[in-house]
Amino acid sequence: MELATFGAIMSFAIEMEQRALGFFHEAATREGLGVRFGEMANRARKRLARAERARREGVAEMILESIEGLRSEDFEIDLSPGADESQLLEQAATLAETASRFYHQAASKVPIKEVSRLLGRMAREWEQQLSDLQQMSP
């Protein structure tokens, strides 16, 4: 699906954060991952609220110009919180890599500076999360 409008991009971000929240929340119930995945769920909750606020507040009628070059298929993720610990870490890392890539690209496309900055910040947060995950061993 082409993400050609501001709303489509933000709704995709919201959906991604919702899925991340669900994934971390469920995975946090597993012994050994609880605290860290719980923290990641909290971060996803914050990002979700931010994305919803940006969709609500960032849209300005005078700059609804169409956006090109973003497709949802390029950011598909497969999450199954029922997997074993090492697979969960792998999925979390893939999610973080995909999300940061999405946010970086979206930040460069969205023509609203405030929202673009916010998306950039979210990309960096996911990058940090990826680096944290890489230091965790099952």
Partner: protein
């Protein structure tokens, strides 16, 4: 599906209309009937005016800070129901979700500005205007005001007026568009939720009968209107006849001038939104591109290429970039203009007629349409089409571009695309239009500025939004004092 029969909101209560005249409200993307709206009688209007008049004294004595707090509550409630408000617009009007969200945001911004009433409504004074004499000017509310709203921004337009009117201590009646009444219905649910005192805000659904009853009522102080030029002119005259103040924002035929030095890519992107956003049903829509000199050929090709890529469909689908027009009749009327354009010798570069949208065979869809070889005398260059039809006029130079703009009776908006500060300044200085864009396709003033307009695009002196709204909704009382 149960079809909701809409109610009026009078004196703090939802009331069934007793009218025998009702209209169906359609979803323009599907043609389904989604609600029924009563065309209220003069008696029902009189009940709303009485409620507003009865509420006025208490409300004007309510402190500006308290009135402002109601607006903060209104803003918060609108934020909480933001998506619902946006989706209601898509449902009844057809515009895409992004545009609907933008509309709700613009509406909220007006509530935010009006909430500053404790500062905005302050008067001014001067000591010693003569020996021992002081003079002050006090802003006071004037009474009962009303607005008659259009279909194209069913949520936002009443918010150019209502928040300011009630912030200033007036009471208010909204007559929403009978084609898109659901958004105001939702907004009044919010006003009810935040516990506005009964009678301060009232909603009366209806058509000309209701509007005439409002204008003929001796207790109505003034009217705000947004709609077409013939109706605006009629209402302005009628308001004057009945001794009321009025601000009537009317029709438009906005030109987008492109200079040879314009950044073509950015210009074309901006024009897509301007001409085809909200399916061209905006009073700020760019309707004519005035291409200056050698920019004509590359601009024409780029516009067509870009417009071809616009995805037309149901506004609820976030991948869609343009929705349907408001009604079957509007669709037929716009198609009539396209045929007229062909008859009068314009060249159709992109034909949006007959577009098929998968899954929505009954929608009132029309694809982006572009004409070239348009001359200022043609019907499609003179009349407001209010649809996704863009005409291109080729001119030799800047002065000729201004002549094209000035040959129109309208003066709502005009834009120039250029990388030259000189041309930008010259345009701003000379062009006869109220809302000017320099490298902006839709010159939409934010809430703290007046939504301007001149010539046949505006009847009145004070506009909606910002300081103009405060002036419109108040009386200035001058007090001269001497103490012996």
């Amino acid at each position: 599906m149960t079809i909701k029969a809409l109610q009026n909101y009078i004196d703090g209560e939802w009331v069934d209309s007793k009218s025998s005249r009702w209209l169906d409200v359609h979803n323009p993307a599907t043609d389904e009937v989604i609600a029924r709206v009563p065309l209220s009688s003069a008696d029902e209007v009189h009940a709303a005016v009485k409620a507003a008049k009865d509420a006025f004294q208490d409300w004007r004595e309510t402190t500006p800070f308290t009135r402002s707090r109601y607006l903060f509550r209104m803003k918060n409630a609108m934020e909480e129901r933001f998506e619902e408000l946006a989706q209601a617009i898509v449902l009844e009007h057809g515009k895409i979700l992004d545009e609907a969200r933008g509309e709700v945001r613009r509406g909220i911004e007006n509530v935010e500005v009006a909430a500053g009433v404790p500062s905005l409504m302050m008067g001014y004074n001067m000591e010693d205007v003569s020996h021992g004499i002081d003079e002050e000017c006090v802003y006071q509310p004037a009474g009962v005001f009303c607005c008659v709203a259009p279909f194209n921004f069913p949520n936002m337009v009443p918010l150019w007026f209502l928040p300011y009117a009630i912030a200033c201590g007036n009471t208010y009646i909204v007559k929403p568009s009978e084609r898109c009444p659901i958004s105001q219905n939702l907004l009044f649910e919010i006003l009810d939720e935040i516990d506005m005192p009964p009678g301060v805000v009232n909603l009366v659904n209806g058509d000309k009968e209701a509007v005439d009853a409002l204008l003929e009522h001796p207790d109505v102080k003034g009217l705000s209107f947004v709609g077409s030029t013939p109706v605006g002119r009629y209402l302005y005259a009628k308001a004057a006849e009945h001794g009321k103040r009025a601000q009537c924002q009317a029709g438009a035929k906005n030109c987008l001038v492109v200079m040879p030095d314009a950044d073509l890519k950015a210009t074309v992107a901006s024009m897509m939104t301007s001409a085809f956003g909200t399916a061209g049903q905006r009073c700020l829509a760019g309707a004519l591109v005035v291409a200056v000199g050698e920019v004509y050929e590359p601009l024409k090709d780029a516009l067509v290429e870009s417009a071809k890529r616009i995805r037309v469909g149901y506004g609820m689908d976030e991948t869609v970039q343009m929705g349907p027009v408001i009604s079957k009749e509007a669709l037929q009327k716009i198609i009539g203009y396209i045929e007229k354009g062909l008859e009068e010798g314009a060249t159709l570069l992109l034909d949006g007629r007959g577009i098929e949208v998968e899954g929505y065979p009954n929608g009132y869809f029309l694809g982006p349409t572009i004409f070239t070889d348009v001359t200022p005398e043609m019907t499609i260059a003179r009349e407001e089409i209010f649809g996704p039809v863009l005409g291109i006029i080729h001119v030799r130079d800047f002065d000729e571009a201004l002549e094209v703009i000035h040959s129109s009776p309208y003066g709502n908006a005009a834009s120039i695309f250029t990388s030259s500060g000189k041309w930008g300044r010259e345009f701003k200085y000379r062009v006869e239009a109220g809302n000017i864009g320099i490298n902006i396709g839709i010159a939409a003033p934010i809430a703290s500025f007046p939504f301007s307009g001149m010539k046949d695009s505006f009847f009145g002196d004070l506009h909606g939004q910002g300081r103009d709204a405060i002036e419109f909704f108040t009386e200035r009382k001058v007090v001269i004092t001497r103490w012996f």
